[in-house]
């Protein structure tokens, strides 16, 4: 499979990258790991006349802790990097788990979090964890910058709020409060190299180890044109003492938020059952981590 012709740019400063995007705008595509873009170009689904690699833009590949209060993750950070980062595993657990389940090792070594979000596939692994962690995305252009909550970022399959002259530079995530824990479950037909049939991320914050739930977020992927928060299920849980029965009900409500389809990966009925079961399971795992929270 051959790649169509294009002109290649490799800016070495953020300013140069933004100026290039400003000049070339709609004729250019940003290249990070290339595991989505180059596949699309080989399949002739995309034919940009310019490709701008951001691999040599300083800082794009960095995970920067902010004094324990937050973390800034460069858009170019790879799945492999996120999966093995101790801070991410410890405090931003759903993100680390999702990173370890994306594709297979050679894909994880290239696939970036920014590329995954910008690509906006409904079944992608990173959107649900970013949603339950309330990530804010920094978009920059030659004209300015804006911070977009991840929950306002996705517009539809393959569509986001990013303008052609904008670059997704980084994600900012506040550290969840004490007694928080999270998890992520991906269901595919096999363990590796599989796009999800259903994926679920959850974050729970308790008042204390045995206290009621003070905050909870659930996000589901592959079940609708964009990843969705299960807000009604969250409402049921806030203020309640966690229990198996409660989590089962939350899963039931979660199904109501979805519009799953039937395709070769699974039927609508199967997907609905899985949403229910996996929501419950993911909440149970998140709860166990919240109870075991350590300063």
């Amino acid at each position: 499979m051959l790649l169509p012709r294009f002109e290649y740019h490799e800016p070495t400063t953020l300013e140069d990258a933004l100026n290039l995007l400003h000049e070339l705008g709609g004729n250019a595509r940003v290249l990070a790991g290339g595991t989505d873009l180059l596949v699309k170009m080989k399949r002739k689904l995309e034919k940009p006349s310019h490709v701008i690699s951001v691999a040599r833009v300083p800082g794009m590949d960095q995970i920067i802790p902010r004094n324990g209060h937050a973390v800034t993750i460069g858009a170019g950070v790879t799945a492999a990097e996120l999966a093995r980062n101790e801070l991410v595993m410890d405090r931003f657990t759903p993100l680390a788990i999702a990173a370890g389940k994306l594709g297979a090792p050679p894909i994880r070594n290239r696939a970036s979090i920014g590329g995954n979000l910008a690509n906006a596939r409904p079944a992608a692994d990173f959107p649900p964890p970013c949603m339950v962690l309330n990530a804010t995305l920094k978009l920059k252009s030659a004209k300015g910058e804006r911070d977009i909550p991840v929950n306002d970022f996705f517009r539809g399959p393959g569509e986001t709020v990013i303008e052609p002259n904008e670059l997704l530079v980084s994600l900012h995530i506040e550290t969840p409060p004490p007694w928080s824990g999270g998890s992520y479950i991906k269901l595919g037909a096999r363990k590796a190299m599989e796009i999800s049939m259903v994926n679920v991320a959850a974050m729970i914050t308790l008042q204390s180890a045995d206290g009621p739930i003070v905050d909870v977020r659930i996000a589901l992927g592959a079940v609708a044109p964009t990843p969705v928060r299960a807000l009604a299920a969250e409402d049921l849980l806030v203020g309640a003492i966690p229990s198996e029965e409660l989590f089962r009900k939350a899963g039931e409500i979660g199904v109501g938020m979805c519009s799953p389809i039937t395709d070769h990966r699974g039927t609508m009925e199967y997907r609905c059952m899985m949403i229910e079961v996996l929501t419950k399971r993911c909440l149970t795992e998140a709860l166990a981590r919240a109870k075991a929270w350590k300063p």
């Binding site: 499979m1 051959l2 790649l3 169509p4 012709r5 294009f6 002109e7 290649y8 490799e10 290249l31 790991g33 290339g34 595991t35 180059l38 596949v39 080989k42 399949r43 490709v51 690699s53 691999a55 492999a80 594709g103 297979a104 090792p105 050679p106 894909i107 070594n109 290239r110 363990k191 590796a192 190299m193």
Partner: protein, 160 residues
């Protein structure tokens, strides 16, 4: 328009002018005539094209040659030393982990990347490490055993 790139391939400096739309796999196979990395799917699915880029296994069909500028590439051709097979290669031969051989270069490089950072991998860690490498001859069991043997041979050597 061609771009001039300089990189290290199997320890040797290489300089070449390449088209932007040339993949690293095409560059290795067609320009450098290093045909060990195979062209399977061309889409990141099969792992036949796996090479090690700056210490990490990647699908060279999804890397542009220009992206490898200034970086270091290891292909299967760079593994044997002074005509002596690398312990992982030897283990694959000894265990019968090679049938048609199409997946073998990729399998061995994925295994090498694993053993470089984890000298005593569990079976699950081995299976995860090669999960991006498909074998149509279905020789996974022998492949896993070969990697286990290689790990033992390599740590044994270090200890002595």
């Amino acid at each position: 328009m061609k771009t001039l790139i300089q990189l290290t391939v199997n320890g040797e400096p290489v300089e070449a002018a390449v088209d932007a739309n040339r993949t690293l796999l095409q560059f290795l196979r067609e320009d450098l005539e290093l045909t060990g990395a195979k062209h399977g799917c061309g889409l990141g699915d099969c792992g036949a094209c796996t090479v090690i880029l700056d210490g990490k296994p990647v699908n060279s069909c999804l890397v542009l040659a220009v992206q490898a500028n200034g970086r270091s590439v290891l292909t299967i051709e760079g593994l044997a030393e002074n005509g002596k097979l690398h312990p992982i290669q030897q283990a694959f031969v000894d265990k019968g982990a090679i049938q048609c051989g199409f997946c073998t270069p990729g399998m061995i490089l994925s295994a090498k990347a694993l053993l470089d950072t984890n000298t005593k991998p569990t079976e699950i860690e081995i299976r995860t490490a090669i999960s991006g490498n498909l074998c149509r001859c279905t020789g996974y069991q022998k492949i896993v055993q070969a990697i286990q043997d290689a790990a033992e041979a390599m740590t044994g050597k270090e200890g002595s």
